[in-house]
Amino acid sequence: MSLPRHTLITKTIDILVADFLQGKIEALRLAMTALLAGGHLLLEDIPGLGKTTLALALSGALGLSFGRVQCTSDLLPSDITGLSIFDREKNAFKFMPGPIFNNLLLVDEINRATPKTQSALLEAMEERRVTIEGTTHNLPDPFLVIATQNPLEQVGTYPLPESQMDRFLITTGVGYPPPAIEKEIIRAGSIREEIRAMHSLLTLDDILTARRFIREEIQLGDRVLDYIHTLIVATRDHEMLLSGISTRGGIAIADAARAAAYLRGRAYVIPEDVREMIIPVGAHRLIPRAEHETLGKREVLQSIVAALPVPLA
């Protein structure tokens, strides 16, 4: 079975990994999955591992408009959404759109923004439109936010509350590149300039076509559906967790699994797609009990997945 634009998209991933993002295949695949499933991506890792490079390369390759916000504690909501300024010549207010009016928005160090700014951003992510001074402006489609946050930085940060973490479809780290690749990266130095010079590999239409296909044609069978449901119910019953994956989380898992199946070249979802996606999609939605605060959510979720049998018959 041939999937529309599938070859093109996988090839793009291959080229990006080969030329610009050595050792970041997992993060790149997840970013692509989020884009195809119509969700947003949160990259959690220490600075300097190439989170920004990843976002830049993605935007460059996809031929999407790109905006970037560097968060600080004095960043205002209007710095992201835009504002109206008075045009003296025309004697009227003129709306100056902010960086949010791009297909791909990179929000660097989102947890350094104040809660008010964060919520302005998160509202836009959920509604896909912003209302400024009484006028509603639709955001472009596709609209993908890639946010980064530095977990180690404690001073002057405003961590995202769980309810807002929920707005991100996928959370993942970038991780250190393998030694050989890292040495090569160090030798070659920063590749930002080359990324800026790269020409796009995919058009807007390619992405929209693939997204429509994933949403409408990728089949999610009853058994896989049962499997997803069993998994999310198991997170709710887990003794170390205060609350498990919500129904919205379940929808997110199904959407991401569809996109993962597409990326694997299949027109139907298999349990492996779910198993692949449940950690990046589900882990950040879990709320552990106070006494297990230090426990890794990923590990808990991993143990739940490992304990439940895969549907086979």
């Binding site: 089949q219 069978g221 979802v269 298999i270 349990p271 492996e272 490992a306 086979l312 018959a313």
Partner: protein, 636 residues
């Protein structure tokens, strides 16, 4: 070889018989004649493989019977027409065609007929009929499925035995379940069995009046009156006291309606606990061993004479527990004149005799001894035949025939006692009883009805005296029939009936709750016996292991894989022993882990069908088999 039609036919006859037998006695004469004829006709017709009545005729006859008896059905006359219709329909079916459908119809009719018999009489025999019928029908249904598939089917004896064994297993298990459900299913306050079974009011030997010589109102029947659970007692203590008759009018002893005082004053005696299970009848008197004390289990009034009466006629079966004081005396609460009353025109011969006895002494005891002595020496004999019948039967008994039964002895003795100034009264009840050692109870039947006397001697209280024992043939006639031993079969049958009554008929919500609470108490009582934490731990561990085994089995059944998948996993396990197998991982994950394109192909084909909610096609199954074969051959 066994032709299945033959055993099927015989089962059919047996089922019809089981359905009709319990109601046969109650059927109208036409049905009583028609049934055996139809059975014989049916058997001979089946042998010749023909039918006596064609289908149309059978339908017509059925309709006619239905209308005829249906016309008679009314609210008061319900059972008789119904059982007659059922019996006649069965008879028609016996003579008619015998396809599977017809047999099923007749089984249903037989079941209904048996059910209807419960409305006539519900004793332990109903259960045996029901069990036999359930077994017969279950086996018959199994045979029927074979015969329906092939009318001429023949099986070897071994095969036939196998089928019968399996067929018998089902009702066997069902009956065990039925037993369990009977105990635990919630009951109504009012036992349903009682509703269906109002209980016949049989002819009774006991009456509320004693009038010697009028009619021989003795019931010769052995109809049970009650069963009394207690220890085995000497025969002379088996006086089941019921009613006290104090008023003599002519020849007629009656009960004085009101006796002053409320509770009897019992002195001395040996206390014996008795539980009485009366058969249902329309009497309001309760019976108990002489002298009855405290009663519990039912609301009953007890007057100063120790007579127990129910407030109203019982509508359902019941039982009561009573403490009797054997050998005790009852204090008289009022003046003795009350029990010295005699009618005005007494035969001069009797007055004469009384005067002679009165001369025997000044004290009560002396005169009483003279009276007893007179009865002992006069050579009275105890008999149910040649009874005095004249206008003055008491005088006739005393001076001419000298033959009578308990009523004559008691009436004449009490009359003479009163004439010599000894207060006396008659007591009615039962004497004797057949001890059933299987059930540990006395069975008292109507033919053991008895009347005796109580006398009040010098203020010591009422003392029981049975003049019938003074008959010359008392040991042979009177005592012989009171508790003449029953045969083992009779005792067995009666014990079965007794337990049926106790376990089934009177089993209602109250008894269920009692049983439940008793079980709870017993379990609690059991707990301290458990040897401290060690035993509890062992029990918990065992329970836990049991649950693990069960849940593992459940999981195993839940993931019972497709045969092809199982074969595939076996071959993969042999080829790649280190691999983690499903259901711990997915098929594609497995293929990637072992890095085998054949495994990937299997995962694609199998998953492509399975995760898209469709069955494997023939080609896909072939392809999967091929992959499995390749995996197997590669390992060799």
């Amino acid at each position: 070889m066994v032709n299945l039609r033959t055993p099927l036919n015989w089962l059919h006859y047996v089922i019809c018989l089981l359905g009709v037998a319990p109601v046969y006695a109650a059927l109208a004469l036409p049905a009583q004649i028609a049934l055996p004829l139809a059975l014989l006709g049916g058997i001979s017709a089946d042998r010749q493989q023909r039918t006596v009545i064609p289908d149309r005729g059978a339908t017509l006859a059925s309709l006619i019977f239905f209308i005829f008896y249906g016309w008679q059905v009314s609210f008061v006359n319900l059972i008789d027409p119904v059982i007659n219709i059922l019996a006649l329909l069965i008879a028609i079916r016996l003579l008619g065609a015998k396809s599977g459908r017809h047999l099923l119809q007749n089984y249903t009719l037989a079941l209904f007929s048996l059910a209807a018999s419960a409305l006539l009489k519900l004793d332990a025999s109903f259960l045996s009929y029901l069990i036999l019928m359930v077994f017969a029908i279950a086996v018959s249904l199994v045979l029927l499925t074979y015969v329906e598939a092939d009318e001429k089917m023949r099986l070897s004896a071994a095969e036939f035995r196998k089928i019968i064994t399996v067929a018998l297993l089902m009702p066997g298990i069902a009956l065990l379940l039925m037993l369990a459900f009977f105990v635990i299913l919630p009951r109504t306050q009012y036992p349903l069995w009682n509703f269906l079974n109002p209980g016949g009011t049989s002819k009774v030997g006991f009456s509320e009046e004693v009038r010697p010589g009028t009619v021989s109102n003795l019931a010769e029947t052995r109809t049970p009156v009650f069963r009394a659970k207690t220890m085995e007692l000497p025969k002379e203590d088996l006086y089941w006291r019921g009613i006290v008759l104090s008023q003599l009018e002519g020849n007629n002893w009656k009960r004085l309606p009101e006796v002053p005082g409320t509770t009897p004053d019992i002195r001395g005696g040996r206390a014996v606990a008795v539980t009485v299970y009366p058969e249902l009848n329309d009497r309001r008197y309760l019976f108990a061993l002489d002298v009855p004390g405290q009663i519990s289990g039912i609301r009953a009034a007890r007057d100063a004479e120790g007579v127990l009466t129910l407030h109203r006629t019982p509508r359902k079966r019941f039982f009561y527990e009573i403490v009797s004081h054997i050998g005790a005396t009852l204090k008289a609460p009022v003046r003795a004149d009350r029990w010295l009353q005699v009618p005005e025109n007494i035969s001069p011969r009797i007055v004469n005799l009384a005067q002679q006895l009165r001369a025997a002494g000044a004290t009560d005891d002396q005169r009483f001894a003279a009276l007893v002595n007179y009865f002992r020496t006069a050579k009275f004999s105890y008999s149910h035949r040649d009874l005095p019948r004249g206008p003055d039967p008491v005088a006739e008994f005393l001076f001419e025939r000298k033959t009578g039964y308990c009523e004559f002895f008691a009436s004449s003795f009490a009359l003479l006692a009163r004439l010599i100034d000894i207060p006396a009264r008659l007591v009615g009840g039962y004497y004797g009883g057949n001890y059933n050692d299987l059930g540990g109870y006395y069975l008292v039947s109507e033919d053991q009805a008895h009347v005796w006397v109580e006398v009040l001697l010098s203020g010591e209280g009422w003392r029981r005296f049975d003049p019938s024992t003074l008959a010359v043939n008392a040991t042979t006639e009177l005592l012989a029939e009171r508790g003449s031993g029953q045969s083992l079969a009779q005792r067995l049958a009666d014990a079965a009936d007794y337990f049926w009554q106790r376990a089934v008929i009177v089993y209602d919500f109250d008894r269920q709750m009692t049983l439940l609470l008793a079980t709870g108490r017993n379990l609690r009582a059991l707990r301290p016996q458990l040897k401290k934490p060690a035993t509890a731990t062992v029990l918990m561990v065992l329970g836990g292991l049991g649950m693990i085994v069960v849940s593992g089995y459940w999981r195993g059944t839940r993931h019972r894989a497709h045969p092809l998948l199982r074969a595939y996993l076996r071959s993969v396990a042999r080829r790649y022993p280190a691999a983690v197998l499903p259901p711990r991982c997915g098929l594609t994950e497995l293929a990637e882990a072992v890095n085998d394109p054949r495994c990937q192909r299997f995962a694609d084909i199998y998953g492509g069908a399975f995760y898209r909610d469709r069955l494997l096609t023939r080609e896909e199954r072939e392809a999967l088999r091929e992959i499995i074969a390749q995996l197997k051959s590669a390992q060799n």
